[in-house]
């Protein structure tokens, strides 16, 4: 109190004593406390818990028993479904992420120039991303790509013989990849924003020097867009690795396990068979694989991701 009054005579700012109390580290921690509590209790602690479970044979019904590395050993050496679902998931990620990004980039390039009608096109192309994650669209997909579905009618119109896309083991995964690529609109909007940030004088200057369209694309557009591309690539891999709803609703993992992706396997082990210990090991393997993929892409980024702030000396990072 005494200090507050003496300060008050010097600086009018410090007039109110209660303000002094707030102007402390405590205030900062109070403001972030919801997140901090959430992080510790609902992210950090569960992760440790999950790591612990992964070394046990925990089910919700029985007492926990420590089994060491047994789960991991069984997964890697004796679990066919693990190997198969992992292979399928890699296939899904490697097909859907690049296709989606290429479609997004192509359309973004087209839209960048077509000024007239841009908002109509953008709305139409973004719309599938808006609704695509819903169970409703998965149900629609199941119908459209069925034997009697609409897609086969379109093919029939062009004289191409169709198949039961979601019931044929050879094509079922591709119908899910198609659903993912159909939602390229949100990546496209991000690319479009990135394209608009590229200064026009770069193109003008290079045109004066006689650079063609293709050369401009390779030497200007791609490098300038590479940070956006990098971000989209990482997030795309993380998200598509965890694909669940379409596989669960459209194909249920079938036919003949041809769409039995990793997330579905994890879900079934955990919540149909209640093998929480074993599935925690599966979850940790998934985390390790995703982190490894992110680290590898990050390591390669110095060869292809170009940050403008460091371009002054022509240096690439």
């Amino acid at each position: 109190m005494e200090r507050a009054t003496s300060l008050a005579s010097e600086i009018p700012v410090r007039k109110k004593p209660f303000r002094k109390r707030w102007d402390s580290p405590l205030a900062g921690y109070l403001f972030i406390s919801p997140w901090l509590i959430g992080f510790l209790a609902l992210t950090a602690y569960p992760m440790l818990l999950s790591l612990y479970y992964s070394f046990t044979n925990y089910t919700l019904m029985k007492p926990i028993e420590w089994v060491g590395l047994d789960n991991y050993e069984r997964i890697i050496t004796a679990d066919d479904k693990f190997a198969q679902s992992l292979k399928l998931t890699f296939y899904y990620v490697l097909a859907s992420v690049p296709l989606k990004l290429i479609a997004a980039l192509m359309v973004a390039l087209l839209l960048k120039r077509a000024v007239r009608g841009i908002s109509v096109y953008r709305t139409a192309i973004y719309f599938p991303s808006l609704i695509g994650a819903s169970i409703a669209v998965s149900l629609l997909w199941k119908n459209i790509f069925g034997v009697d579905g609409f897609f086969n009618k379109v093919l029939g119109f062009f004289g191409i013989p169709g198949t039961g896309w979601v019931t044929n083991p050879d094509t079922a995964l591709w119908s899910l990849i198609g659903l993912s690529v159909w939602q390229f609109g949100s990546s496209m909007v991000i690319f479009l924003a990135g394209l608009k940030q590229i200064p026009n004088d770069l193109y003008e200057a290079s045109a004066v020097d006689g650079a063609g369209k293709l050369k401009q694309f390779v030497k200007i557009t791609l490098p300038m867009l590479s940070p956006t591309l990098f971000f989209n690539l990482i997030m795309g891999i993380i998200n598509s690795f965890q694909m669940f709803t379409p596989a669960y609703v459209i194909t249920g993992g079938g036919p003949m396990n041809s769409t039995y992706v990793y997330a579905l396997y994890l879900y079934e082990r955990a919540f149909s068979r209640y093998q929480l210990g074993y599935s925690s090991s599966l979850a940790w393997i998934m985390l390790i694989l995703i982190v490894a993929a992110a680290v590898i892409i990050n390591l390669t980024s110095k060869y292809w991701v170009f940050y403008e702030s460091e371009s002054q000396g022509g240096k690439r990072k």
Binding site: K16, I37, A41, L276
Partner: protein, 281 residues
Amino acid sequence: MTRHKWNSVIRHAVLILFSLVMVYPVIWWIGASLKTNQELSSPTLFPSVPQWSNYINGWNSVPGFTFTDFYLNTFYLITAVIIVTVISCTLVAFGFARLDFPLRGFWFSLLMLTLMLPGQVLIIPQYAMFHQFGWVNTYLPFIVPHALAGGAGGTFFVFLLVQFIRGIPRELDESAKIDGCSWFGIYWRIVMPLMKPSIVTVIIFCFLWNWDDFLGHLLYINSVDKYTVGLALRMINDSQGGAEWGQLLAMSLVSIVPATLLFVFAQKYFVEGVATTGLKG
């Protein structure tokens, strides 16, 4: 025609083709929701006689319940989630953007790291915890994480709001401080009103991601009287085994109406939200 004009014609043609491919399934969907089962495999877009009964029967197709119940459940759940998300995320974002405290950088980089954390690593331990708390078959597994700036997209929202608050001039805080305003006063009276546009973005994406959080609903909601719309759709799909596609497609179509309306009325916020932060959309 000049070469330039031809280029423009081709560009528009390609764009129209793309737009059609994107939207055509949805147009077909509208027609299909009015068809009988026999007509579904016919190539025409719209049925000769629209079966409005698909909507009526579909709405009542879960014995003992109507979709009114499921929509009320879903809206109740999402409204609660949105309210706690807006409160918690703005508080946290204000703390990170404006206050100085020990380890701030450390905590913020941890927050950024959790943005990338695959959610499926957490579902098993969280389920075990919530099961022990007796929260299974309540809405608490959704409301509590969101109240702690987590859940579907919480960390994204904190990040988005931090970016936004950093753009608000600090002079406003300073002058409020001179007038003797507390930190909470600055948050509540100065920054909150200015944050309105970004809060709208948060509300929109919070709504969408929770509406589509099928796995979460599947895990925690067991009894039909608490079912969300997504779970009800899955139940019809499982129980009918594709016998009444018209009804199922009609109810599915209705379930995307809220998101579509939101998009129509708040398109500006969508495009800005997606473009400026690279949200997954």
